[in-house]
Amino acid sequence: MNQRAGLSRLKAIGRFVGWYGVLIALGIVFAIPFLWMFSVSLHDLAGVFADPFRWVPEELRWSNYVDAVSLLPFGRYLTNTVVITVCVLIGTVLSSSLVAYGFSRLRFRGRDKLFALCIATMMLPGQVTMIPLYIGFSKLGWVDTFLPLIVPAFFGSPFYIFLLRQFFLTIPREYDEAARLDGAGKLRIYWSIILPLSRPALATVALFAFLGTWNDFFNPLIYLNSPENATLTLGLNMMKSQVMGTGVTQWHLLMAASLLVMIPNIVLFFVAQKHFMKGIQVGGLKG
């Protein structure tokens, strides 16, 4: 009996070590790009080009971070990025959840066809709609403002609508029925039943919307003109481009700045994950 208990304990320890082994190995594989960026950010330019590449440079040049930040008015860019990102985040979560609620829990004529249309809009490569869209925004006089970057978010995005619809569909209908019997209207059911029950999904959408906007390069590039309107990604790109076609990018500074731009993403993810982790149930049989 005792032996058996010992054996199963050994087994448990073995399994424990096994899981962590797998997790750590995978963790390293997935962290490689990040570790490389971090390593490059502490080199000098010559060290970046050394062969073989030293993962830990002889001299850790933390001053690269100061140099990178003082190269451009990153404070201004940060403000711009935060304004755009927060607006997009709010617009996306509000409108996409409303629309997803309509598509998942209401019955109306033409619903499935409209939903199919919504999905279909994702299937056309943006490369061919970009110029007509640009012409449209420029006719509105919105070029070089944040409007082309923010306003579309308030009309919902098919990706998030689809995602939220899938999650809303996992919530049993009995909740709606019960609330309806209590005299709640559709808007009330959406606001006080569906949304609270979907916090993990909403947190996911909010996270994606944040990351997507924070890291977006192409749209700001197209629509913004004035240096003072730049976002962080545009600032990073200015570090990348070369002097008259003959320069080599200052990789060490670029990586330092890129990491600084990434940090809010990492912090946000680290903090936000508790919202889509245990404790909040989507549509379970609970309650």
Partner: protein, 306 residues
């Protein structure tokens, strides 16, 4: 008399809820999409008024452009491998992270890191990783006695290299699975444990059905996204010469990369738009199949959604 009136009220409510998207569609999306249809029937350089050419672009695509089948095949290859592998790996990771072990929040963050790392900034790293002589992958393979392939320089291995690269970025898919896994009530597993169900049984009879809506989402989005694969090939392939993207020997010339080159390097936006609509139809076809099949395997708590 009462019934139709009731339906109309429901209709109105429904339209009210989807109004943000509907208005956005009509104002922002429909116009450019319609414009691109019209452009696809023209010869347009973007720089002067277009010339109407009727179905000419489509005729050339269907019969007279050898790069159309090439780029379609490249894209199909990429979709065929990156979507299933990505789904499997991200689900496996999500289930690994779903365990209640200490330090999970750190691992979740680690696995998600590549998804928030600027693709363009680390493209140099990727080229280095895949470098046949000095790269990380072949160095690792050499340790176990395998002579690694030429990766991005090889017609055979350039597509697998880009597939491998795409697997790094599965963080988003993983998070969606994780959110779905977290939504499975413990009671279901407890009941299964009482019945003495094996882990495989638990997986196939509880986990999979419960996350099937998320799986369906990831599948559809994965297919739509991978058919439009562009950035990796654009920054990773070819030399510094513009026009050489998609090499070697067109082995990474994906469909959207091809249409991009047509539009912005060769000033053939009309032809590129026609290509885009062909791709649209291809993706639409596969998505409709997904939708039809989904009725058999996707399980919604809210019941049949019609």
């Amino acid at each position: 008399m009462n019934r139709p009136k009731l339906i109309r009220r429901e209709d109105l409510e429904g339209y009210a809820f989807i109004a943000p998207w509907l208005i956005g569609f009509l104002l922002l999306t429909a116009g450019p999409m319609l414009a691109s249809v019209l452009i696809s029937f023209t010869s347009w350089s973007m720089l002067s008024p277009p010339t109407w050419v009727g179905l000419k672009n489509y005729e050339v695509i269907l019969s007279d452009d050898p790069l159309v089948p090439t780029s379609l095949w490249n894209t199909a290859y990429y979709v065929l491998f990156s979507v299933p592998l990505g789904l499997l790996l991200s689900l496996a990771l999500a289930m690994l992270l779903d365990r209640r072990l200490r330090g999970m929040s750190v691992f979740r963050t680690l696995f998600f890191l590549p998804s928030i790392t600027n693709m363009v900034a680390v493209s140099v790293l990727w080229i280095w990783i895949f470098n046949p002589e000095y790269g990380l992958i072949n160095a690792a393979l050499e340790k176990v006695g395998i002579v690694g392939p030429m990766w991005l320089q090889s017609e055979t291995w350039s597509k697998p290299a880009l597939v491998i690269m795409s697997l790094w970025g599965i963080g988003g898919t993983m998070i969606i699975f994780l959110a779905a896994l977290q939504g499975i009530p413990d009671e279901l597993y407890e009941a299964a444990d009482l019945d003495g169900a094996s882990s495989w049984r638990r997986f196939f009879h509880i986990t999979l059905p419960m996350i099937s809506p998320a799986m369906f989402f990831n599948l559809v989005i994965g297919i739509i996204g991978s058919f439009q694969v562009f950035t990796q090939a654009f920054v990773m392939t070819g030399s510094v010469q513009p026009g050489s993207e998609g090499g070697p020997n067109n082995s990474t010339l994906f469909f959207v990369l091809y249409l991009y080159k047509k539009a912005f390097q060769e000033f053939r936006m009309g032809y590129a738009s026609a290509l885009a609509w062909v791709l649209f139809l291809v993706i639409l076809f596969f998505t409709i199949i997904q939708m039809k099949l989904s009725k058999r395997w996707v399980f919604y708590e809210a019941g049949e959604s019609r």
